[in-house]
Amino acid sequence: MKRLQITPWQAFFVLIAAMALLVLAVDASGNGYFQTFTALMLIQVMLAVSLTMTNGFTGMFSLGHPAFMTIGAYVAILFTYPVGRKGFAMPALPETVAQIHLSLPIAALVGGLTAALLGWLIGRLVVHLQTHYLAVATLGLIIVVQTFALNLDGFTRGGRGITGVPREATLALIGFFTVLVIVLCWRIKHASVGRAMLAVRENEMAARCFGIKAIRLKVIAFVLGAGIAGFCGALLPHVVSVMSPKSFGLILAFNLVAIIVVGGQGSIIGAIFSAVLITFGSESLRQVEEATGVYGMTQVIVAVALIAFLLVRPKGLFGLKEPFVRTS
């Protein structure tokens, strides 16, 4: 039986068409809940794809995405928050910065770059660590960033959180960037740099014997992941209009790991599928949770399901493979 396979170019057009259709249909529906849900789902897709690059391609185990998201979010808000209200919300902000107002895409880019810069500073140090240690170090990074966000209340309003963030993240904008992130990660995976990353994942020492600069590749993957995470973090508060130091924490890190494990660590299409699947799943469970008042049930089910899933398919849905698309 010949399996259904299309070329990457065809897949690219399918992706664009599907995204355009989704964005247009959801926008046209005029249903606010549905629009917000779709926006969050697309951001989740971007996060999952970028994490599957950082962790899946190189075999690292970083939990640090929420830390970079928090940084990206706060930096972007500095520039998109209404100028007139900055003095009240962020009194510690220097006057020169307070006068600057940027549109969301540019502010989010600034946030993403800041996160990438931090990712570079941290990443070039922590990528030397082995699995457990890298995971714990990046988990520690989340707590460090959260603690700073909580205490630098002249910029962040601390635990009270920033409300009234302008809802500038339109669905079209998010859809556009989602396609961009997917294409970027796809191109990386199938370029020489990506193949080298995959070689590092399979056997670091053997890869190094072939002259592959493993550490440099890991840093690249880490920094790119951090940048995209920062960018997504910057978009998120502009969807839901609030931001607090605890917005992105351990639970999010865990959910992202769950998504890429289910998708198959290293599979981009797998990450997209499973991000959509798990976002839908947890949202429906959340509805049940709210109806029954049993808060916490969603996370229990996701966690237990993940363990069960790992028993049945330790390599995830697709492993490293990209289903439906011819890659060689």
Binding site: F61, I122, L125, V126, H128, L129, Q130, T131, H132, Y133, A135, V136, A137, L139, G140, L141, I143, V144, T147, F148, L150, N151, M205, A206, L250, I251, F254, V257, A258, V261, V294, Y295, G296, M297, T298, Q299, V300, V302, A303, V304, L306, I307, L310, L311, P314
Partner: protein, 297 residues
């Protein structure tokens, strides 16, 4: 010595003891199966809630509560091993890691469901809340009880590991699991035992934590768990004395950070601790006392 200094030393001792109790479990488990058990910190929460339940039910005599908590912690630790861990034995390390992380999330949220998210107040009986004068300082009795009990536990455990047949078996597995199996050691049972022992000590730490801070909630175990893991790293993962010393080093530095810097910095306590974690991992990933592992092809 000023009374403030004495007060801080006692605080450091008691906090360090709590970290040490949890860190011992991390180290034991890592020694045997080379895995960081993420759900370990949550056993502290389970211990705290067991204590809370036992005290509230008011049927058991006071002296029996620590023993029951120890037994309960042993059962909980063993249960985690049986349910989450046994099934994936032989899987790659990353799988084991994700499973313990999932277990931790599941335990926290189950606790949220069944115990509620509201923090509960908790008090030991009058006797333990007594305050003693010590060199001019006014020290809570519990802060002295904690280090003494920790020391006893550490000594007992060390003797157990050094002298008994089972302890020797644990060390043999840590040294070389394959050869240990050839000698007729059943690794499965030892892993259960080690999870149980670690769980018992973490639950005991939970009992003390509840008594010391007077408040418990379902998510209370996570941060102390992570910090105890840091203590384990400081001492060199897999080494028991290292875990204990690491616990005290961490406890004292945390107290010193809060106690001797201007108060506006104390909010950064956790940032300091985890900054320290990242720093230590970078400079000496094998810990202060551990030996570097050779990378082999």
């Amino acid at each position: 010595m000023s009374d403030y200094l004495i007060q801080q030393i006692v605080n450091g001792l008691s906090l360090g003891s709590l970290y040490a109790l949890v860190a011992i479990g991390f180290s034991l488990i890592y020694g045997v199966i080379r895995l960081v058990n993420f759900a370990h910190g949550d056993l502290l929460m389970i211990g705290a809630f067991m204590t809370f339940g036992l005290v509230a039910s008011d049927v058991v005599p006071w002296a029996a509560i620590p023993l029951l908590v120890l037994a309960g912690g042993f059962a909980a630790g063993g249960l985690i091993e049986r349910i989450a861990f046994r099934s994936i034995s032989g899987a790659p390390m990353i799988t084991g890691f994700i499973v313990t992380l999932s277990a931790s999330i599941a335990i926290q949220n189950l606790a949220l469901i069944f115990l509620g998210s509201q923090p509960r107040n908790f008090n030991f009986p009058e006797v333990f809340r007594m305050r003693l004068p010590l060199g001019g300082a006014d020290v809570a009795l519990i802060d002295l009880v904690i280090p003494v009990v920790t020391l006893l536990c550490a000594l007992g455990l060390t003797a157990f590991i050094r002298k008994t047949r089972v302890g020797i078996a644990i060390r043999a597995v840590a040294e070389n699991p394959f050869a240990a199996q050839l000698m007729g050691i059943s690794i499965g049972r030892l892993v259960f035992l080690v999870f149980g022992l670690g769980g018992a000590l973490a639950a005991l730490a939970g009992l003390f934590w509840a008594g010391k801070y007077g408040q418990i909630n379902p998510l209370m175990g996570f941060l102390p768990g992570l910090k105890a893991f840091l203590a384990t790293i400081i001492g060199g993962v897999g080494s028991l004395p290292g875990a204990i010393v690491g616990g005290y080093i961490l406890g004292f530095s945390e107290i010193a950070f809060v106690g001797f810097l201007p108060p506006e910095y104390s909010g950064y306590r956790d940032a300091f601790v985890f900054g320290l974690l990242i720093l230590i991992l970078l400079v000496r990933p094998q810990g202060l006392f551990g030996e570097a592992e050779q990378e082999r092809a």
